[in-house]
Symmetry: C2
Subunit: 344 residues, 2 copies
């Protein structure tokens, strides 16, 4: 498909561009009145994820309403553990909950892995196809998955946690078991992301939401090798690795065969550039809370951020946009970026 | 009072010592069977905090059971917002909850501040006095408070949060109001800590549990100046500043007039030393989850950590010990440190 706006892909491929592209993590969601209206009619979050026409509809809403430079398919990282055999519920105001978790070898042995698991997620591939048909090349469509370590956290813990101490306990107490599970998650994630690319995802982002609770050494042992395998398995599209809170692993992240590294708002661009090296593109990293400020301050902050990154930059927040962010704040942010022009 | 073991204080004052002292954040708590037995008889957590004889008893339990080099008074950082006028409840398995929070100027105006607030916390000062009498100089007694930013988070948000986006929103949307509230918390915290020192606290630790959610610039604006005031107000005892997750603020923390900087387990000692400079003592930073490993691995990890810090080091975890940590793991950790001897 010929794209009318390919700024995101040109930037991710390292080409010279006229301004940085902009999109927001969680742009398809509660910040939009259209989303809230649709969501109110449904039985729950999973109905939206699992119904391709609806997932496509909310994927496109922010392109219409915010005029961002990319769409990201509406889905959830937890479809992977579900496809592997652990169903989850999304409990309103509490988050995900898995009735079954992984505690021992035999439970790991029983998981469905790789293509056999990935083929259970046809509703995601259908949603990608429907979205691209409806987008008709207006902007590129991003696909995503959770990083193996983050998926591992949920499969062990069964829910969100402040410390994920059960998941980390397995790294210390049963490291071989941990590697077995990480390997199976990785194999499944690769099969899933290949299907996503085959069905129209033009860039893949891997979210390691719980990277920040590991030490540098643990991240090198239990995360980086699996991220490496995922990136190597996707030679046909640019890959963005976003390891939230992993400031201590920036040099290791810089060695991954990915095009783009996502940064959270704590991380100074110059600091990251020094560790990651000159070739990668960065994505980020405005504090989502900046969007609570008055519109003119948001615009200033966006411009200042763009200047501090220089070239090789995809504008985004340093985390998903918070659900109660005023729509005017989000629009002020997007418009400020779109009005920016790199000086020659 | 003449201390029989003053290793912690000598280390905090920068003196040459034979081995690093060791204690654990949250050592008085659920890891100890004695604590759980006492706690089971009580109506709730706050009864323990507010009853000086009981608070003293659980403060001393880890000195008896674990043979650590310091006691830390059993209390809660949330006694400060309560003394200022916002009562809290400790909801079992959920954490703190404030029926009233701060949303506007008039609510800030109505807060009780400084000595008037601090004098409401007589039960803490009584607990310090009783503890020291019972300890009879076996080890030094540490007092503590939450940092203004962290207390601010709870006063705005009213409960724990993954993002504390309401608290951060005030920094962006109403920065003057935020500074007013931070100022009042600081004044109260100073009055409180002076009383603690007057009643027997020999070292003060300031916990900034939510430091890691701010940007470097915000931390410089909304946290460091208040930490500076607190440290300057306590010339008679060593002060430890523990700003969890504030890797981006290490240079600023190094400029504070405190003796010791606490480090979390993500932070490499050499990296911290380069930013903080040569004079400060470090405290930390074993991953609490390391204590789930077999005893011999815990001992190895403790020794390796001590070597990586070199001198000027108070051994601790990089976070409070987790409640389900095996007692044998904790003991293996303490014993490994106590068996260590710095080479000449």
């Amino acid at each position: 498909m010929k794209l009318k706006n390919d700024l995101l892909l040109r930037t991710a491929r390292g080409e010279e561009v006229e301004r940085p592209p902009v999109w927001l993590m969680r742009q398809a969601g509660r910040i939009l009145p259209q989303y809230r209206a649709l969501r109110a009619k449904l039985s729950g979050f999973k109905e939206l994820v699992e119904t391709p026409d609806l997932a496509a509809e909310v994927t496109i809403q922010p392109v219409d309403e915010l005029d961002v430079d990319a769409a990201i398919i509406f889905s959830d990282i937890l479809v992977i553990p579900e496809a592997m055999g652990l169903t989850y519920e999304m409990v309103e105001k509490k988050g995900p909950w898995f009735p079954q978790t992984i505690t021992n070898q035999s439970e790991i042995d029983q998981l469905v892995v790789g293509e056999a698991a990935a083929e259970r997620l046809g509703y995601v591939y259908d949603a990608l196809r429907i979205t691209n048909r409806a987008l008709d090349g207006r902007v590129p469509l991003i696909g995503f998955a959770g990083a193996p370590w983050t998926i591992f956290c949920y499969m062990i813990e069964g829910q969100g946690s402040k410390t994920f101490s059960k998941a980390k306990k397995m790294l210390y107490a049963h490291p071989k078991l941990a590697h077995q599970l990480l390997d199976k998650i990785t194999e499944t994630t690769i099969a899933y992301l290949k299907q996503k690319v085959a069905h129209g995802a033009m860039l893949i982002q891997v979210f390691d939401s719980w990277a920040g609770i590991l030490s540098a050494e643990q991240y090198r042992t239990f995360a980086i090798p699996y991220l490496q395998r995922i990136a190597e398995a996707l030679p046909d599209v640019p890959v963005t690795q976003f390891s939230k809170g992993a400031w201590f692993a920036l040099a290791d992240l810089g060695s991954l065969p990915v095009q783009t590294i996502g940064l959270d708002w704590n991380t100074d661009p110059a600091y990251a550039r020094a560790l990651v090296g000159p070739t990668k593109v960065f994505q980020g990293n405005l504090d989502p809370c900046q969007l609570y400020a008055p519109a003119e301050e948001i615009a200033q902050a966006a411009q200042q951020m763009i200047r501090s990154f220089g070239r090789k930059h995809i504008v985004n927040l340093g985390h998903g946009v918070y659900p109660d962010t005023p729509l005017d704040g989000v629009k002020a942010f997007v418009q400020a970026v779109k009005a920016y022009a790199y000086s020659a």
